[in-house]
Every structure is written in C-alpha cells, then in structure tokens.
Subunit: 238 residues, 2 copies
C-alpha cells in the first residue's frame, strides 16, 4: 500500500490526504506531529460496524479517513433518528462531551477508516496549543451551525427542497475533496435519507423520480449524476 492509501493504518497526520480538511489544518508541522502521537488508528470498519453506541462512555472524538459514518439516536420506543452523515475529513462524536456518554450511535455505512482522538489527551494538548483549542471550539460551533441549517431545512422546506439540498451538500463536500461535483455514489440508503430529512422512503423515491423526469438528475440506484446543477439549486430553493 502506498503511504497515502486511506485504508492504511500506518499513515500519519502529516501525510494523510485529508490533512487540508481535518484538524491539522489549524496546526504548524511540529504541532501536527504532537497531534499525530495521540491518534489511534484501528483496522478498517466494515458496513454496519459501530464506532460507538448510544450511552457508551464518551472517550474520544473521531475523524473519517475514508468511507462514510452515519450518526443516529434511538428514542425509548426504538425509533431511529439519523442525525448526520460524515464524509472523509470530517469530525464526529462531539455530542458526548456534555454528558460524558454518547447521546447518539455511530455506524459505518460502507468500509471506512477512522482516526480515534482520545478526548482527555486532546484537552491536554489544547491547553498547550491554543490554536488547537480554538480550532476545536470552531469545529463544535460548526456542528451547531450545521444542525441549525438542518433545523431550518426541516422546519421550512418541502420534500423536494430537502432532498435537493442534501444532494447539493454532498456534491459540495465531494468537491472539497477534489472529487466530482456532478457524479458520485450516495453512501446511504433511501431509508437513511428519509429518516435524516423527516420523510418516508416513498417520498424520497418519488422525489428522485421527479428530478429524473425533469432531467435534473440521472439516478441509477445509488449512483447520482447532476445533469442541471443550476436547476437543482433552484428546485432546492437556493
């Protein structure tokens, strides 16, 4: 395996191809090495492997190196609420800080590699490296901002707008990683999309069909091609 292969356990932050998106972006090179020293990289996760479960003790936050992680919570009646999809370069697991135990679960949607960042060590490092501390606060604040965008989406927008917005979000995040903005594979099922956006599977399916009929998207199972980006933005209300 070349050193930059995302599934490689031996990789370090300095060489990781995500270091322009991930925590290292805030750090000087020597600081990156200190961060690298506390990070634990396990073997790749397979589909349906859990990173943590609801109510698990909170010990670490995580960075996605490859694949896709879904976070969700379950209420007392057992119904799931998907709270986020995390792509390479993104950090998840910050929900547990307040209560010392996770209020959501995290599961791999496909074969994924993640970096585990033990929180107590990250806190210690933050005290010695204010830029890291500040960047971590920024990350949490960004998480709040994301959640509030989702709240607005759920509160104000139609099924079509919600789904259009999600596709555009994934497209933009792919572009950040120098992947195609217009052709990609959705890592999540229709059920996950519907759950995340407060819609039924049937509605999700119908909206995909409508977008296809309107020549805005070409949809083949999970493969998506955005044919008319402008019109998709318009239908998404952007």
């Amino acid at each position: 395996m070349p050193p930059t292969c995302p599934h490689n356990t031996e990789i370090n932050c300095r060489d990781c191809r995500m270091n322009a998106l991930c925590l290292p972006i805030a750090l000087e090179l020597d600081e990156v090495d200190k961060l690298n020293d506390i990070i634990r990289r396990g073997r790749p996760l397979h589909r349906d492997d859990h990173v943590y479960d609801m109510a698990d003790e909170f010990r670490a936050v995580y960075a996605v190196r490859s694949g896709c992680i879904k976070t969700y919570s379950t209420d007392n009646e057992g119904t799931e609420q998907v709270t986020g999809f995390y792509l390479p370069g993104e950090i998840f697991g910050m929900d547990g800080i307040a209560t010392a135990s996770h209020i959501s679960a995290a599961v791999a949607l496909e074969t994924s590699a993640i970096c585990e960042i033990p929180f107590s060590q990250l806190e210690d490092l933050g005290i010695r490296m204010p830029s890291l501390q500040r960047y971590f606060l920024k990350l949490m604040s960004k998480e709040i901002a994301n959640d509030q965008h989702l709240i607005t989406l759920l509160s104000k927008n139609s099924a079509q707008e919600r789904i259009g917005t999600l596709i555009l979000s994934i497209s933009a995040r792919n572009a950040q990683r120098n992947l195609s903005r217009t052709r990609f594979r959705l890592p999540m099922s229709r059920a996950d999309i519907g759950n995340y956006l407060g819609l039924t599977v049937e509605t999700v399916s119908r909206v995909f069909s409508r977008f296809q009929k309107l020549d805005i998207l070409r949809v083949d199972k999970k493969e998506i091609e955005i044919i008319d980006l402008t019109r998709l933005q318009h239908e998404a209300g952007i």
Copy 2:
C-alpha cells in the same frame, strides 16, 4: 434594589441568583471572582432590542439573567427561522465561534438583563482554568444535544407533539429556577412558537384550543396552566 434583583447592573457572579445554573456552577469561589471580572453587564434590554445581529462580528457569548432571548436566522429571501429561546441561567451566542461572525441574531422578547462574556478573555481564562474550559465545551455539546432533540422533534413528531414538548420543556426549565412547573407565562408569540416548531400560527392556535378542550391546559393568551401533566406528557409522546 436588593443585591439579588435580576435587573441590577451591579450584581456579581458570586451573588447572582442564577449561579447554580450558569457558568459559575463549574468553578471554585476564587475562580468565580476571576470570571466575574471579565463579565460586562449593560443596562436592561427592552422588548425587540437586539443583542447582536446576523453577520455581526463575534466577540462574546451571553448569559441570560432575566427575561427571555430569542435567536433566529434569516435566509436570503428574508424568511426567519427561530433557532432557540433562552431563559435565565442559559448561555447563548456560541454559533459565531466557527466563522468569527454570528450566523444568527439575538433579540429580547421582553425586558431582559444579560451578562456579556468577551470570548477572547474567556479563552484566556479557560487556558488557566481547565475546569472552565471543560465546562464551556460541555455547554457547547449541550447546545448540540438540544439542536438534535429539536431535529428529532421536527422530523418525527406531529404538531400536537411538538407543541406539547415545547410546553414541557419550558415547564421543566422553570422548575430548575424554582418557579412553578404548572403555571407560567409564555414569553414568545404564537408566531414565534410556530416558526420555531415548523408550524403555522393557525396550527399552533388550534393545538392550544384542542389541549384546552381536552382539559389538559388552561390557556389565556400567553398565560399557561398545565392541568394534567401526565396526559400532556402522553400527548407529547413522552
């Protein structure tokens, strides 16, 4: 004015009647004094006075000492999304950390007193007082948890359940401040409630009427009395 009057500008954290809910809860007495030194208390805000506007430079976070603060964001078409209601003892304004400018606005719903906590000084203090740093991270994490509860509410619950849950939330937060759990005044308008919960004013009004007809609530404009708490919890899906 007695020293504990919530509108008193001269009050300090040590004597503030909210110190069992607010940031001081994490601190030793001498640390509270250090925190107190950086806090700025302006004159009380009146209804519709803004604490900050969208896109204002992020300089501070804020604690509510009395009254009620509403946060909201506005999209490019000018439609508002209410993102939160903050009661005494609660902290708001953390949305701006990521972007250095606020992504929402904060406005007083009634005469309110707030404490301004300059963020750069809070950061400095946090480096010297790890317990403060940790508690602030907890606060942000709690904000994330709140947002995710709202996401679930919007995504999965009916109008009746959403409104019931909001009333129960305000009731519980009142109880924390040793106010009545069953009789209180809603500080926000029907429009704000609807906006927050993704419903129209008419729907909010209808649900209040239904709860009243079912002898679960007694509603008189903004005055609320919870007559049957158990049944309200049931209707709210709890």
